[in-house]
């Protein structure tokens, strides 16, 4: 976008926005002044910004997401205020209303629910499975900072450039340049894209953590239910998020390069976007709700003082939900007219999800049955959740009845449904989780009385706000309208609904008050304030930075509960024998790299090359810096561990019961690289799976668009097979030589390894050269990415492969240098193994490109 005036850059003309400008400015000044005055810059950098400790990262996630909850909540209340009165209200202008419902949706799902969920993962999972940290602590920090920068980029649009206004899922053609020429939509794309990469990496990280880092003895079927729910959520993430990445990338390519994936003209297909975005979007709602199910399972068992009922059913239900959620997406557009067959199919798959969900409810109820239930705050929220979610699930089933949905779709009935499951399920669940694990994280409890106020305000507010919306839907009120007339009869319902909205807002304020109050009056707690059942309660609160002084040895589900019973019977433990602990070092790489992502994103939003280039170079440079950095970890001495434990232990005798169980167990824990390299290899394999989905999605779009040549050249006109066959031959050979490199490596032949790598890299480089030449020639003939949908899909698919090869080349050179310097070590061995896997993978992808694109194209 050409910026000619300052007012093109800064959003002007609205008092709300000026207010926000002032507030943002003042807050920033206040933060800088405070940090300087208290000489806290170094502390901030060392202890927080560069931390790789999952507990601190979790805290940062929680803080950031509560801030986002505040912003999303203000958006919501602005909308409700506008809707409180008909016609005469001109509180928000229509355009502003569009901005606000768009940002509200995006922020609540992607920048509130997701990070709050990741916060809870981080705070809890390693402690529940008896691990010292997550599998990839540095990557974890990078995920956080990518989320943070993405969220900032998105939020900046409020005051700079203008907000997106095409709805939270940005359906084209409205979100295309033709109808949304401003930068708001680009902020949307880049904000979500950057944080989405972070989410994907968190998904990989926690899968590996859960599969590989459990304490010895903790078989899969002995895992706490929350950990199971995180696993199922993360599996869904790694399968769904790549689709989002591709979809947004295609929208970006449309907007930036004038391609025609989703445009009205040149063969573009907006319906494809709607399908793709919901293939991510529906799993996404389950991604956020599954962990809430896990939280409730923990809480119900703890506060009923009883084992979780139907553990096997619960696991099965979680896993089947995460799989089924991939086969229901079309229920979001029954009204697209796909025909009775399609609608009936997706209606039934959707309903099926209600079955495992219902079973979970029964299992929770029967966990309480014959228990001794205490209603502390976490349990109160759980009790609020159950009826609320039952009703929300029921309206979900009503919506899934396709022919009936014709009357519900796009109305306030739908709005009420998803708020009921998202607030009643996800938000209540995460609140319950926060109240539950807060003492573990901070070592003090949250004030009960204020918490009760917040609880009742939220709950009453919820029903007052959303029950009327079901009625409004049946009265024909459609979503996303910013005003209506007096004679509609909607007024009273809307007014009541607005009151409910404000009650929830006050509830939130009570929670803020509750936190501040509790910080001031600090009711300190010991390790196990609730009578917990799982391992996180076996260590002091807050947990020491290495979590477990001695890796626990697990013998059953609810292992901590079992040990407490043993201890009660007087079973004595031998005195602890501490050993050095292997820990990751803090690092500034993640935050610096994320900053460059921000710069890159901002550059693309405004199409400023002078920002895009440094952003991209910065990302590559930090990545390489990290690759060359071998100084990433250290050992905590046994003596230090002993001291720390003694200090914490004063308040927490129980801790030793847990700790001592496995003092003679050496097969896990401090021992360094061998284990780590296996983890990293597994992580890389999962990354390859996500990449498979990326290419799969691209192939699917290509299949949809390959005949949409819009009268332009076809594959038969363009492709020149001799060149393509040469490319194929070269790439296949390079796969072979990379295999030879690995063979040399396994023989310990450093020279052979480097030699074969050089051959592979040269072959790869010539492949790229040929491909670029081919592309240039085609472009020269007038076959550009903007010529037709077919060519958009062609260039994007083949280009993505080419980009992968190019990145692989840079990586390969970096690895050669490392091998030359360090020789063949476990680390370089793993790295070479990974790149060779990557290279074979690209080869397989190319074989598909060759057959599907070129061979089928020339026929």
């Amino acid at each position: 976008m050409k910026i000619t005036k300052l007012s093109d850059f800064f959003v002007t003309g609205d008092p709300l926005i000026y207010g926000a400008d002032v507030a943002i400015g003042l807050t920033m000044v206040a933060i800088v002044v405070a940090l300087t005055a208290f000489k806290r810059w170094g502390w901030l950098w060392r202890e927080w910004l560069t931390t790789v400790d999952h507990k601190r990262i979790g805290i940062m996630y929680v803080i950031a997401s509560l801030l986002m909850l505040f912003r999303g909540g203000v958006d919501a209340l602005l909308m409700r205020t506008q809707l409180a009165l008909p016609d005469s209200m001109e509180f928000l202008k229509p355009d502003h209303y569009n901005d606000i419902f768009t940002t509200h949706g995006v922020i609540m799902i992607l920048f509130m629910a997701m990070p709050l969920m990741f916060g809870l993962f981080n705070l809890t999972v390693p402690l529940q499975i008896g691990a010292r940290d997550v599998a990839f602590p540095l990557l974890n920090s990078l995920s956080f900072w990518l989320f943070f920068m993405g969220a900032m980029l998105f939020n900046v649009s409020f005051v700079i450039g203008g907000s997106p206004e095409a709805g939270w899922l940005a359906y084209p053609p409205l979100s295309e340049k033709m109808f949304s020429p401003g930068v708001g939509q680009d902020f949307y794309i880049w904000g979500i894209q950057i944080s989405g990469i972070g989410s994907l990496m968190t998904g990989i990280n926690f899968i590996v953590t859960i599969l590989k880092m459990r304490a010895p003895g903790m078989k899969l079927m002995k895992m706490p239910m929350f950990t199971w729910s995180v696993l199922s959520s993360c599996v869904t993430i790694i399968l769904a998020f790549p689709i989002l990445t591709v979809t947004l990338a295609l929208l970006f390519i449309d907007r930036y390069f004038g391609a025609h994936f989703f445009t009205l003209d040149m063969g573009g297909n907006p319906m494809m976007y709607i399908n793709l975005i919901w293939m991510w979007g529906h799993p996404e709602v389950y991604i956020v709700v599954l962990p809430a199910f896990g939280i409730f399972s923990e809480i119900v068992a703890t506060f009923s003082k009883k084992r979780l009922f139907g553990y096997g059913s619960m696991v099965f239900a979680l896993m089947s939900i995460s799989i089924f959620s991939f086969f229901t997406w079309a229920h979001h557009f029954f009204t697209m007219g796909s025909g009775a067959n399609v609608n009936a199919f997706f209606a039934v798959t959707t309903m099926i999800i209600a079955i495992p969900t219902g079973v979970k409810i029964f299992n929770w109820l029967f966990t309480m049955y014959k228990g001794k239930i205490t209603f502390e705050l976490p349990m109160l929220w759980t009790m609020a959740f159950i009826p609320c979610f039952i009703v929300g699930g029921m309206t979900g089933v009503m919506l899934s009845v396709a022919p009936a949905d014709f009357q519900f779709h796009n109305s306030y009935f739908l709005i009420a449904h998803f708020h009921q499951v998202l607030i009643g399920g996800v938000v209540f669940g995460y609140f319950a989780g926060l109240y539950y694990w807060w003492p573990k994280v901070f070592g003090f409890k949250l004030n009960d009385k204020l918490g009760k106020w917040a609880f009742w305000l939220w709950n009453i507010g919820f029903y007052v706000c959303f029950m009327p919306q079901y009625v409004l839907g049946l009265m024909g009120m459609t979503r996303r309208v910013s005003s209506y007339s007096w004679d509609t009869g909607w007024w009273s319902w809307n007014f009541v609904s607005t009151i409910g909205g404000f009650l929830m807002g006050i509830g939130f304020l009570f929670q803020v008050w509750q936190i501040l109050h509790s910080i001031k009056f600090m009711e300190r707690v010991k390790g196990d304030p609730w009578g917990g059942r799982t391992l996180e309660w076996s260590i002091p609160s807050p947990a020491p930075f290495y979590n477990f002084a001695i890796t626990p040895k697990v013998e059953g589900r609810d292992d901590w509960w079992r040990r407490k019973e043993l201890a009660a019977k007087g079973v004595q433990d031998p005195p602890p024998k501490y050993e050095p602990i292997h820990m990751p070092k803090n690092s500034g790489t993640p935050i610096v790299m994320s900053l460059f992502w921000f710069i890159l994103g901002f550059g693309f939003v405004f199409d400023w090359l002078w920002l895009i280039v440094p952003g991209a170079i910065g990302i590559a440079a930090t990545m390489l810096y990290h690759s060359f950095n071998y100084d990433t970890d250290y050992y905590v001495t046994a003596e230090e561990v002993r001291k720390t434990e003694a200090k914490a232990g004063e308040g927490c005798l129980m801790a030793h019961v847990a700790a001592n169980q496995s003092s003679h167990d050496h097969d896990h824990g401090h021992d360094g690289h061998h284990d780590l390299e296996a983890l990293r290899t597994m992580g890389f394999w999962i990354f390859i799976i996500t990449d498979c989905i990326i290419f799969g999605t691209l192939f699917a779009t290509y299949a949809v668009l390959m005949n949409s040549t819009a009268g332009g050249p076809t594959g038969a006109d363009l492709f020149e097979m001799p060149g393509v066959i040469a490319e194929t031959f070269i790439l296949l050979t390079s796969s072979f030589t990379s295999g030879l490199a690995v063979l040399s490596m396994n023989r310990g032949d450093k020279k052979g390894l480097i030699g074969w790598l050089i051959v592979t890299a040269l072959l790869g480089a010539s492949f790229i050269t040929l491909e670029v030449t081919e592309f240039l020639k085609m472009i020269d003939e007038g076959a550009k990415i903007s010529t037709s949908a077919f060519l958009s899909a062609f260039y994007t698919l083949v280009g993505t492969h080419g980009l992968h090869v190019s990145i692989g080349l840079i990586w390969m050179v970096a690895l050669m240098l490392q091998v030359a310097k360090r020789g063949i070590t476990p680390v370089t061995k793993r790295k070479i193994g990974n790149i060779s896997l990557y290279w074979h993978f690209l080869d397989v992808v190319w074989i598909f490109v060759f057959t599907i694109v070129y061979m089928m194209g020339v026929r």
Binding site: P94, D95, Y97, N98, P173, L174, N269, P270, M271, K305, K306, L308, F309, G312, S313, G337, S338, G339, A340, A344, A347, V348, M351, I352, A354, I355, G358, F362, L365, M368, K370, I373, T374, F375, M383, P387, M394, M398, V401, P403, A404, F406, Q407, H409, N410, I460, Y463, M467, V471, G476, T478, R480, S483, Y484, S708, A710, G711, K784, T787, A789
Partner: protein, 326 residues
């Protein structure tokens, strides 16, 4: 914690109280008071499925509060406490079974109705159906009556007891066409021709809703932009009138005089005006952008002029979905 019982009871009563409150206002709830055959079937379906859901949901809700109440730790009566009891194949079979059964029933009903109420299926009637073509434009609806040779904007009228075949498309961002009184909704999408069959069993609208009907009876649901109707109207200054393109009102009058549309179910759409900036957008679109000036594209454009745009789309229809530009 003294008032815990009170809290629980209040929490239980609140939704109930609200429900009664809701049901008292039924008169205006148009989806529950349909004026056409399709809407009536859809309402039946809503009642059937809701009923089936309630069979399971009501007992579970009661069970929830009963269990929470009975097994509270503060309870004076000492209830059985079995901390180790965590599995029962019999019970779990029951609660896998019940939802499976209910969902099975709902699924069967749904599949049947999916075929019965498929929007593209014509409605059987003694009367000859009429066709109305609907085009969603930027901020307004265009209605074409091919048999009558008239066109209207934001205003549609058709006789009662006559099946109407709406043929729908868009020449702008996607939209959704919904007449809640008559039955549900279908998207209008550029490059595709959709069909929606509805019928009005009785005259409606105008009489019942008076002057303000246009915003009432037939709502345009702008799926995406949802900017708002009323304030935009006010900006332009003539909110209340249904705007008809050209000498539209006159033409509509003529059609009605011809008897074809007598006793009609009259519907007026809230009209949306093209804002200044939108007009610019439109104009820009009509002029082929420079990058599309290649010979190939010109040829395509030339070909496409042969027939009017709407017909061209409808003519290429292939099971409802037509892709433009093949």
């Amino acid at each position: 914690m003294k008032y815990k019982g009170w809290f629980l009871r209040a929490a239980a009563l609140l939704p109930l109280a609200l429900m009664t409150f809701l049901l008292s206002g039924c008169a205006d709830v148009v989806v529950l008071d349909p004026k056409g055959e399709i809407g009536k079937h859809q309402l039946d379906l809503i009642y059937i499925t809701t009923g089936l859901c309630l069979i399971i949901i009501v007992p579970v809700l009661i069970l929830t509060f009963w269990i929470a109440w009975k097994y509270r730790a503060k309870s004076k009566k000492k209830e059985a406490y079995q901390p180790e009891w965590d599995h029962s194949t019999k019970l779990e079979t029951i609660w896998w079974g019940i939802p499976i059964l209910i969902i099975l029933l709902i699924a069967i009903v749904t599949v049947q109705y999916s075929y019965k109420l498929e929007p593209s299926k014509a409605i059987a009637s003694e009367n000859k159906p009429i066709t109305i073509q609907v085009v969603a434009l930027d901020w307004k609806w265009l209605f074409l009556y091919p048999e009558q040779g008239i066109a209207t904007v934001n205003y549609v009228q058709f006789p009662e007891k006559v099946p109407v075949q709406f043929q729908l498309t868009a020449d702008a961002p996607m939209n959704s066409f919904w007449i809640p009184q008559l039955g549900g909704q279908i998207y209008t999408m550029s490059g595709m021709a959709m069909k929606l069959h509805l019928i009005a069993d009785e005259p409606g609208g105008l009489l019942r809703y008076g002057r303000e009907l246009q915003r009432r009876i037939l709502r345009q649901d702008d799926l995406q932009r949802e900017g708002d109707v009323a304030s935009r109207l006010r900006q332009v200054g003539s909110g209340r009138q249904a705007i008809v393109s050209g000498d539209g009102p006159g033409r509509l009058q003529r059609a009605r005089a011809a008897g074809n549309l007598a006793g009609a179910f009259v519907l007026r759409f809230p009209c949306r005006f093209v804002r200044q900036d939108r007009q610019q957008v439109c104009r820009r679109r009509l002029r082929p952008p420079s990058r599309r000036r290649s010979g190939i594209v010109q040829r395509r454009r030339g070909r496409s002029r042969e027939r009017p745009r709407y017909e061209r789309r409808a003519g290429h229809e292939r099971h409802g979905h037509v892709r433009r530009g093949r």
